[in-house]
Symmetry: C2
Subunit: 616 residues, 2 copies
Amino acid sequence: MDDAAFWRELGQQLRVDSIRASDAGGSGHPTSSMSAADLIAVLLANHLRYDFEHPEDPRNDHVIFSKGHASPLCYSMLKAAGGISDEELLSFRRLGSRLEGHPTPVLPWVDVATGSLGQGLPIGVGVALAGKRLDQLPYRVWVLCGDSEMAEGSMWEAFEHAAHEQLDNLTAIIDVNRLGQTRETMHGWDLRSYADRARAFGWHAIEIDGHDVDAINTAMSEAATTDGRPTVIVARTVKGKGASEVENLEGKHGKPLSDPHKAIEELGGERNLQVHVAKPRGDAPPHKFEADHAVPWPRWGPDDKIATRRAYGEALAALGSERGDVVALDGEVSNSTYSEIFAKAHPERYFEMYIAEQQMVAAAVGLQVRGFRPFASTFAAFFTRAYDFVRMAAISRARVCLAGSHAGASIGEDGPSQMALEDLAAFRAVHSSIVLYPSDPNQAASLVRLMADHPGIAYMRTHRGATPTIYSPDDSFEVGGSRVLRSSDEDQVTLVGAGVTLHEALKAADQLGEQGIAARVIDVYSVKPVDEDTLRQAAGDTGAIVTVEDHWPEGGLGDAVLAALADVEAVRVRKLAVSTMPGSGKPEELLREVGIDAGAIVSAAQDLVRAPAGAQ
Amino acid sequence: MDDAAFWRELGQQLRVDSIRASDAGGSGHPTSSMSAADLIAVLLANHLRYDFEHPEDPRNDHVIFSKGHASPLCYSMLKAAGGISDEELLSFRRLGSRLEGHPTPVLPWVDVATGSLGQGLPIGVGVALAGKRLDQLPYRVWVLCGDSEMAEGSMWEAFEHAAHEQLDNLTAIIDVNRLGQTRETMHGWDLRSYADRARAFGWHAIEIDGHDVDAINTAMSEAATTDGRPTVIVARTVKGKGASEVENLEGKHGKPLSDPHKAIEELGGERNLQVHVAKPRGDAPPHKFEADHAVPWPRWGPDDKIATRRAYGEALAALGSERGDVVALDGEVSNSTYSEIFAKAHPERYFEMYIAEQQMVAAAVGLQVRGFRPFASTFAAFFTRAYDFVRMAAISRARVCLAGSHAGASIGEDGPSQMALEDLAAFRAVHSSIVLYPSDPNQAASLVRLMADHPGIAYMRTHRGATPTIYSPDDSFEVGGSRVLRSSDEDQVTLVGAGVTLHEALKAADQLGEQGIAARVIDVYSVKPVDEDTLRQAAGDTGAIVTVEDHWPEGGLGDAVLAALADVEAVRVRKLAVSTMPGSGKPEELLREVGIDAGAIVSAAQDLVRAPAGAQ
């Protein structure tokens, strides 16, 4: 059998196995797999360089199914490459199987979870950046894209960024099967519309018949030898190719075939071809950035007034000097987030992502695929732009550190569009996440170091304005910790804050003290996980708690405290939060206006202390 | 003074006033305003048709500052048009002023809040869609875009969609001033790079010198007379134009000038030109879609097993027959969300947004600018893609209805990428939002009708699987309501659920009853606002509450219940939620696996009842 004949046979096997897996699983997307089968067959047999016995080999190429619903094809490919058995293939979508409905990294050959469309290509940009600029290895990144997902703006962020970074190690393959879930795509089989867009964005584009294995082979060779820019292969394909029950028909998306046996027969029956995938090139190890200790760890004294965002930037630069695996990304606001300090100290490890937050988080996910520890920063409000990417990063079991600056109404004059007032809720509701909210520069710096070791999504919220230094540079903090800043045996009420509201709570405690009300003050700098023991102790000691946060009332610090005390009786909690839409104004004016300044805390504490326990 | 001379003078006035406003406010973006001043001058003086005394006139054009940080220019324009006084102009960014740091609709001439980049153009697509397909009026939509924001993928969703819909009533004006916040953009003054991209996406593109008023005028005329496709004017401009202190210099973004007097002198001093803006065309009223009552309100009987997503679709179609202002959008999953039922009944009011969730929510915001009641639907998980647009919609004081289907682990085989497990937290933390979570088709239908009347963001979470019908079609529900489904004087514990978990709670109550434990069951179908009275009553009566939700533990139904009981003593709450990352499996297997099925509820209730009150 010559090469082309083998590729054709392999394509048919991938189709048959996609049908079999979907049939065994009782659901899935066989037709979306069948359209791309020849593309994957040629890639696997003649272009991919990957040691399937050693998926951790840093020299391996990367294959990302951006159209994650083509998981039957992905798993059929893994079977053909010797990664999984036929028996495992048929466990598709069953409880406990590694072969989930959409690919996830519970399989060692899968880099990232896909299934939310428009994410695989931007993540591929991150992996390709790692190859070019960090690992400095010749591995290639191949991304299989659906035509429907080209409507997602994140794909065009990826096109823009990949061209700007001249990522000629990246190849996108668009499976133009014409049909979406409910109808034809906007462009149908107009390959030119995709190619023209890609070319305008600076890519090399090749239009082919996606079932002509020789054309596929030639295009992939051309992609691999094109210098200075990424290549997109725009492949005209047929959804459900080869099975008369479904081929090129609407209404056949996302379900098993009703007569799989007939389809398998039409496709020439079951096969068991094994592909000896080419091993990765060379034996050079990945480039390592050594610790240089050039930037000393920052320390602030009791008289310093420093914004936590600035402390973040200084600590990140120092961490970069301690650890060569730390890298930074920013969404074109590095002089606001202070990631510019890292950029100046370690320019080779700084990635400017311009105003493209989705691409920024995706790139961070791609960089951590190769073991780097990315810290991505922008205004906390603008991480909402990338929330789907954060959600999916958790499913990817990714380790990424995200720092959002300018949190809350306390930013002042810029107004509500720039105020993150939902970030604590959003990030708490991410699996594997930690949510840190420092109030002081020494604390912020200490937490930056902890973020890099968190095996999941680490989020830090920083604030805009300069605030007093409370802690010593030698104080230590921990994920899940808190600090009790005021405490006595006579405490009648507990004030719980973090960030700017901690400073308001301290002022309030002073004012309450002058009125003869002893108040405990707790800094819950770790909003998730929150320090249950300390909060429960305070609940038991004082019976009354005021929480205060520069955030909407829902899902933030107050709700975290309430959750920690869910089964504690005999405690009353008053939650202070931003309850009206802020406008512009001076920070202190806005804290008063929205009801989270020291005065509001004092009033709430007085109410709680004066109301007899048990009264409603 | 001839036209061109007037336009030039007006441009200088807009620059001077931008500098004055920023100086008075002590912050702001004068340089980003100055680059676009000539563009806005010519638009205002010779192309815009707008009755500034009647901003509510349906025939008015629409001007959207997608680069919202150019708010000083926006407000200077309003002054020149007679909307605001010079005194108000100088109130910029002060507490209580309508002139916030970034534009919001507290000003009657501002359609929507901007300031999160990349949103104005997609929203403009929505307004233009309203003009073409709903109002059927000749008003035009003019969107001023920044060059930096062209890196946002959402801009390209807008380019794609506007061309597909042939929106020749839409003009984008890109202010290519070359400089972002910290550096040059990816394309600098390479106008061609923007124009080529736009042309590849199907737009008419015109490249001009953005300070040549004649060229601007010609381009705007050409835009207004180009049929069948939208036009983009790509204008080369100079940031800080005309003031030597800042002109074309890096490091001058987002701050007042240090010597405003010198700059104003260089610009020829203060002026007080008033523009007599052309009145809107014609006197035809907007097209009205009449109620046709063709689709009867759906009713389900006690033996029906129907998924709430299907009830959503049927009710929406019926609501569309009751109200001509109701319109629907979907992200190419209308046969999953069942918005296809509306699409079939009211094709002229259905908008297919393909897989572009940001554009979908933005279009909904644009449609409601013109008074329509948009219902936008996709998988609940994929609303995370548009979270920044939802956040900004709240700042826009927009009225939009969003319906997310396939919520939670109970979707089963498709796996975690398709499971919304953070949507309740995300939507609770949106200002003005209501969060509804029906468990039954009659209830879902009733809530759809309520959504249309909510003056803010109305979110409904629907589930995938068919569930029993609990309620009668004549039962009534309300925002902030709940239903007590099991209750007795002997209740020892309260079970609180919604959606699929309500059905598990009912099963659990039966099992507990067999064990001699009387359990109250509450359906909190309104998660925000939540029915505090009923929950507090249950807390008082039973002292023990189990909440159960198909959602991560943070920020959802359980936290809503805890917040309602924050200051109630003598109640212990056990929160059941999805605590491990689900894989694939059958729905009932996954509910068990993640710990939210009837068995888990029974165990939690037993624990609470058996543990002596007060014991920790």
